[in-house]
Point group: C2
Chain length 504, copies 2
């Protein structure tokens, strides 16, 4: 299938769209119809529509066919002094997160809502060379008999890396997985049964809520401080009151807050849970993106009894798209391995071998140094922009690692409305309601500041601030208060922790 030959097959539709014969939202003729009318095979039509979709001209909608896409303006809209405030509609977190996932695949959007850093920060050329080298050297038996636990060379490289950071993994750790997402799924499933209660942070990474949902688990959200992480006192109270099956925490540079638990609190967390025999699922995918002097130690480092199921990944630090992560599940290693075999048998070998080769030749730390520096600079730049352009009363976190900022807007500003307005102007954001099971973060949002060098960032943040100010002013006017509708300066304090939740 050569794009050059297939391109011509798409021209008649491209022209039709350009000429406006097919307008945004309009349904394209069915494959069957097109086959008949054009006298071509279904394969040809699928291929043509596929290319149009790849060009962003049309989109496939589940079970209903192909539709012409609306073209979005990337920038340039004038400030809306007081935009009409649409009602925030009832939205399921998973629906909204799926919508967001689709949105951030649109290159035309300024990716402030994305979960990944800019891809130009990663050494894909070098990884491709490593992959080619490794796959040429691969012994056939490796391919058919690759252990479910993962490629031996990659596992030992990780064991060594953890050892250098003071964490001695067991002989059966790590287990290589399809990204941290699978590691977290398997780890959680290994220690829970449907209906169980699982403690998560508040706010928490929306994928955690989805994983709980998928496994039929119930979430208990615990107040989490933007600087120090999950509230241990609140957690202890919950553990006294409920039979908790597991606790899921991001101990370093938590998503979305960026919180970094101090070692003492990590140790206290592990002890608190171990005493009660409650497994800790540690999501540690951001630790390598520290802005300080050294990699924060994971809670796993303080685990003497094997109660920590530690999960990591290369997706945020080295190779997005390769989908290579791992679990170091402590005493639950054999259960996790068994679940891995039942759910996906093994992890894709080309990606594993490419990473093993890259790690073996020692380029990882050099790459990480550059990545950390770039992210640290952009975090600071973005915080300044937020302070300058967002309305009075806005609060923003001050993370020392990772690439997320968490904004608490004036209570009157509905973040979902802001999300829709911004998306309409070509800017994606992650509205706060995504990060809780009960949508309690109505006037909060997460900004991805992992795209250094993107000239669209500054104007996009400014425009976001203007839209937020407009919503704040409109609300104030609606409430009979004259707030002038002018964007004030954001206070540069840390976002306050939200009140403790009622138990699920």
């Amino acid at each position: 299938m050569k794009p050059c030959t297939s391109g011509s097959r798409t021209s008649w539709k491209t022209d039709a769209i350009a000429r406006g014969q097919l307008r945004a939202g309009e349904r394209l003729p069915s494959v069957r119809t097109t086959c008949r009318v054009r006298g071509v095979s279904p394969a040809t039509v699928f291929q043509a529509y596929g290319l149009l979709e790849a060009q962003g001209l049309i989109e496939a909608r589940p079970r209903s066919g192909y539709f012409v896409r609306a073209r979005r303006r990337v920038r340039g809209a004038q400030p809306t002094a007081a935009p009409a405030v649409p009602q925030a509609t009832e939205v399921r977190v998973s629906d909204l997160s799926l919508e967001l996932l689709q949105a951030v695949q649109d290159e035309a959007l300024v990716p402030l809502g994305s979960a990944f850093p800019a891809s130009h920060l990663f050494p894909f050329e070098e990884l491709a060379r490593c992959g080619a080298r490794a796959m040429r050297r691969v012994r056939p038996v490796q391919v058919t008999s690759a252990g479910a636990a993962g490629d031996a060379r990659l596992r030992y490289a990780l064991q060594r890396r953890y050892a250098l950071h003071g964490v001695a993994l067991g002989a059966d750790e790590p287990i290589i997985t399809n990204g941290a997402m699978e590691a977290l799924n398997l780890s959680l499933q290994a220690v829970t049964r449907p209906g169980d209660l699982v403690v998560v942070e508040s706010p928490t990474f929306y994928a955690a809520l989805q994983v709980l949902d998928r496994l039929g688990l119930r979430a208990l959200e615990v107040r989490t401080d933007p600087a120090e992480g999950i509230d241990l006192e609140a957690l202890q109270t919950l553990l006294d009151e409920h039979r908790v099956a597991a606790c899921w925490c991001m101990t370093s540079f938590q998503n979305p807050l960026g919180a970094l638990m101090p070692d003492a609190r990590k140790q206290a967390l592990v002890q608190l849970l171990s005493r009660r025999g409650v497994p800790l699922i540690e999501d540690d995918v951001y630790a390598e993106l520290y802005g300080g002097l050294q990699r924060p130690r994971p809670a796993k480092a303080f685990d003497t009894e094997g109660w920590v199921l530690h999960c990591g990944s290369f997706s945020k630090s080295l190779a997005p798209g390769y989908r290579v992560g791992w679990a170091a599940p402590g005493r639950f290693a054999s259960q996790v391995l068994r679940l891995k075999i039942m759910s996906s048998l093994a992890t894709s070998l080309p990606a594993q071998l490419a990473l093993a080769e890259f790690l073996a030749q020692g380029g990882y730390d050099r790459h990480l140094r550059g990545l950390r520096q770039a992210l640290t600079q952009q975090r600071e730049q973005a915080r300044r922009l937020v302070a300058r352009h967002f309305p009075q009363g806005t609060r923003v976190t001050h993370p020392t690692g990772g690439y997320f900022l968490w904004l608490e807007l004036p209570p009157a500003v509905d973040a979902l409305t802001l999300y829709r307005l911004a998306l309409n102007e070509g800017i994606s954001t992650a509205p706060g309601m995504l990060f809780s099971g009960d949508g309690r973060f109505t006037h909060h949002m997460r900004l991805n500041v992992g795209h250094p060098g993107d000239a669209r960032l500054a104007p996009a943040v400014q425009r976001l601030g203007e839209l937020a100010a407009g919503l704040a002013a409109a609300a104030a006017e609606g409430a009979g208060v004259n707030a002038g509708g002018k964007a004030g300066h954001a206070t540069d304090r840390q976002a306050v922790a939200v009140p403790p939740p009622a138990s699920a």
Copy 2:
């Protein structure tokens, strides 16, 4: 980490093992101890033990450390006229299948118990070149924003391929997954809730039982004919008697029977289920390995209402180890995609791009022609060997595709005992009890005949026959009957279908 430098670190243990200082089954000193004694870092010790493990000298045992492995003789043992018959111990299917999975990773074993064909049958060199080419050409945004449904180019290649076989996939099909195993997991989860009843074939692929187990589902095993597949009458009766949530079938070259449902029966199956709104999970990973004139049509080809969740893979036909499969879930596509996002987000990109490139340059069908020819020849050769060497009363299937033979041994021969005896002589087999939830196939076994050119095959099959004959003779003597203990000739008829099961 360079083996050459690390090799030396392992020599002291290698020598110790060679000198017999460390005997089979003996535990190696703990990492901590070795660090102290040798004055090296934990990383070095992990690495050294890892290399010893890779050399097959030692093995890691969950939570208990590293142990010296027993060396198995590959061949050469004299025929055992009447070996002592160990009691078949209680074994859980999943334990046994995990043991088997470990066993077939041992290159020294004759892989008659393996689930994969010989790796020399696959174009890994060419795939590696395609991968390198594709990964060099990849646009960065592809990597961070690769759709959860999979690489567009690979999806269209599959859509076209299905179209050529008369199956028009929907615009939202296929969804690329981590092998067929994930596709089957997601498909089954999309249409069931824990506690539901799911119909499977009897005998069935043991992984299906594991997936049901993992999802908290209950299996209803339906009599399946070695030639024509699942018994539609028995199925209809079950559907009348029970609330069935889904039906899982391998419609072409079923594992382990090799059964190929005729088109008419596939159509009847789809109609029977669609009338009742019961989804069909179609595991179709062997269809490309047909010995006849053309690829058998999948049940999906007869699906007019979207009730078939069709699952395929490249793992058996093109690229084992790449872990690239797909689901074409009909009306359940959006649910399956949502579950994919929640469980592993996306499928590893390097493997997808390598396969898309390989398919685009048109080498797939040429490769398949050679693969089919090799497998067909070896199926026939192996059937002749079984007929020659196995005891009287043995029955063997006559599949027209795939690479499995299913043997029904004389009732007195315990297949698990045979499995242990053979393993002890360096031959792996897949005992029949793996293929049912209640271990009913006590005197059956599956043989992998997907290793053409392996000189060890003929003597291994002969030796298996001798061991089986010995067990039959011993049982006969034990029963006071003089069976002479001599191996007779196997009847060359098809294995009879087993009686219908009591419902789970």
